[in-house]
């Protein structure tokens, strides 16, 4: 966290006015949602299914190197589409307004080892409500890393560049583990908690299904191409994991993103909540294809302000949100993917060591809030 609170210049009234302006942006999109948006998500879902089907079909002949390359690339893209633009956003309830039971947050399941309902709890409820609040938001370093000076250093953090790399490669398992709150729940006393056991079982079943599909049945169906197909599905999962890990790291870890004290959110108003989302997220700039492949999480700031707006609308919302950042003299953290990934990784390396300077005190705004 920077020594100076970047929102200190705003009065309480200005913050509430900012909140009202953001509400107006949201209302406008909601009033305009319609047939075109519905057609968009159906088209994306249909394209993803066709791409996955064709890629897996091509991989049946993966003994032939060009088939391996094309099939692996196609399957990687299909898995990324499934997780990012489709799964993540549907599970956020972005498309619930269509009242289509087949495209609904309560019925959707994704190509991921964490079952949808567990992910929805840890992601939608905990991460999106308590974004970047130390001790409340598990996304902050996923409980294994130190990503802000304000987090206490522990010798365990010396290895965090390695932990982060391993987490990137097996990201879906990392997410499943942290949706289960494994770190906390593996304590002897908690291990027998029936709720935890039921959830762990559900994860086990999901892992079994995913592994059977990717590493047993599909390779077996490939006959003589068994091993190349196995390598292909492993590669596709790896590509998907590293890609989504990178995108998500860019959302909250790059330099310039703020974190918050637990007590600073006590009695938080709607305007203050919005402001925390604005200061706690970072965007990725790039082409339309780039935004699509990130599931529009490249518009992380807009997504955090309005997590339930359809993802295809974030680009137009971003223009208005950015104007508000300028109006209220706030820093809109954004940059191209390589720059943001580098920035996030540099932080992971830097914070693996204890702070050089003495710990910075709580910024002014938060002190005011606590006093108020």
């Amino acid at each position: 966290m920077t020594a100076i609170d970047p929102t200190a210049h705003l009065t309480a009234e200005q913050i509430e006015e900012l909140g009202r302006e953001l509400d107006a942006i949201r209302d406008e999109v909601i009033a305009g949602r319609g047939e075109k948006d519905a057609a968009y998500i159906r088209k994306v879902i249909s394209a993803q299914r066709k791409l996955e089907l064709v890629s897996r079909g091509v991989l049946l002949f993966s003994l032939f190197p060009p088939a391996w390359l094309i099939g692996t690339a196609g399957l990687s893209v299909a898995k990324i589409m499934d997780n990012m633009e489709i799964g993540h956003n549907i599970l956020h309830g972005q498309w619930d307004w269509m009242r289509d039971p087949k495209i609904h947050s309560t019925t959707w399941e994704w190509d991921h080892v964490s079952p949808a309902d567990q992910w929805k709890h840890s992601h939608n409820e905990l991460h999106h409500t308590y974004t970047n609040v130390i001790g409340k938001d598990n996304d902050l370093g996923y409980g294994i890393m130190r990503v802000d000076e304000d987090q206490k250093w522990h010798p365990f953090h010396l290895g965090q560049p390695l932990w982060n790399f391993i987490n990137a490669c097996f990201f879906e398992y990392g997410i499943a583990a942290y949706d289960l709150e494994l770190g906390k729940n593996l304590h002897k006393r908690r291990r027998k908690n029936p709720e935890f056991r039921a959830q762990a079982k559900a994860v086990g079943r999901k892992i079994r299904k995913q592994v059977l599909k990717d590493y047993v049945i599909h390779p077996l169906l490939s006959g003589p191409s068994f091993l190349p197909t196995l390598a292909a599905t492993f590669t596709a999962n790896l590509v998907r994991n590293i890609w989504s890990h990178s995108v998500i790291m860019c959302g909250h870890f790059p330099e310039g993103v703020q974190v918050f004290e637990r007590r600073s959110i006590k009695g938080e108003t709607r305007g203050q909540w919005y402001l925390r989302q604005m200061m706690g997220s970072a965007n990725i700039s790039g082409s339309k294809a780039m935004h699509f492949m990130t599931g529009n999480l490249s518009h992380q700031i807009e997504h955090h302000l309005f997590p339930d707006l359809p993802s295809n609308r974030y680009a137009e919302v971003a223009v208005k949100v950015r104007a508000l950042f300028e109006k209220y003299e706030l820093e809109y953290v954004t940059g191209p993917l390589p720059k943001q990934v580098f920035s996030a990784w540099r932080k992971v390396f830097r914070l693996s060591l204890p702070n050089k300077k003495p710990k910075v005190k709580t910024p002014a705004r938060e002190q005011e809030l606590v006093a108020a």
Binding site: A38, S46, K213, I217
Partner: protein, 373 residues
Amino acid sequence: MTSTALRSRAWKLLEMVTTPLLPSDYLDLVSPLRAGADLRGRIEAVHAETRDAATIVIRPGRGWRGHTAGQYVRIGVDVDGVRLWRAYSLTSPANRQDGRVTITVKAIPDGKVSNHLVRRAKPGTLIQLDQATGDFVLPEVKPAKVLYLTAGSGITPVMGMLRDTEFDDVVMVHCAPQPQDVIFRSELHDLAADKKLRLTEVHTDTDGMLDIAAADKKLRLTEVHTDTDGMLDIARLDELVPDWAERETWACGPAGMLDAAERHWSEHGVPERLHTERFRPSVVVAGDGGEVTFSTTGKTVDADGATPLLEVGEEAGVLMPSGCRMGICFGCVTPLKAGAVRDLRTGEITEAEPGVLIQTCVSAAAGPCDIEQ
């Protein structure tokens, strides 16, 4: 191993390949009307009937089990991207050769689905279907004398019956604002003009009725034009159809007319001769707060228009699912079975329909409602 067992094994294997999706999710891409799919239909044509009514020709999926004349079907149509379900009477005969069915829809003011179907529906569009249902049908044994008493779009189930079954003695009294508002008017007149039927058209100036009557014919058709004639007074039925009490009667139209008919038939001691079909059982009037029923738990409490239903339920001791409590995580969504709720953020009203889920943490009662929890 039997072939069914073999097929179910093959299906299981397919499911292992397509997980977390189902094989049907992929098959739907190419063959949404196949046997075994969720029941759907494809709109193949839209024919205008009057200035605000149209007949929709639908090719139902392979799972369609057919219908009996007079029954209705629930259809799910995407209007502005939102799936809305409505019930419409089937107007095609049950034995139509090409396997298609038709519904005839009258656009009602502010009717989202009816206006969409009449004015914007395009051939090629997929819609969701339920199986035909309803007991507004003809008995297996043909009654000797029949009366159809209809108004407005209430003519639609009766048209299905008329096209399906021929009777020896049929009288029809139909009410519509003006002649050009009568759906199927030319077909009705053709039916009456059929050589087996003779039709006399009588304009009765004295009582303001337009009466098309056939004295000794199979089909007698009476049109009441409510714009010029005023609403049909059920007591005048004696004069229009003197032998109405001897006739097996099927009535369909607005609630007021049906209520009057039920009273009339009861007063004359022949309620068993009257069969009615009501289109819109009740109209939701959005208010501010109301009685909230949690039907699974069986609790009922009064709620104001400002308290989120999540809190209302928790106060009442109902085990409510909850999450962020600010409308972003969708962890609290619960089916709204009846009534209406208001979104506390936007003021938007949501009315109960099958499949409608609401976020209880940002929704308050807008009149009496029923939450499935």
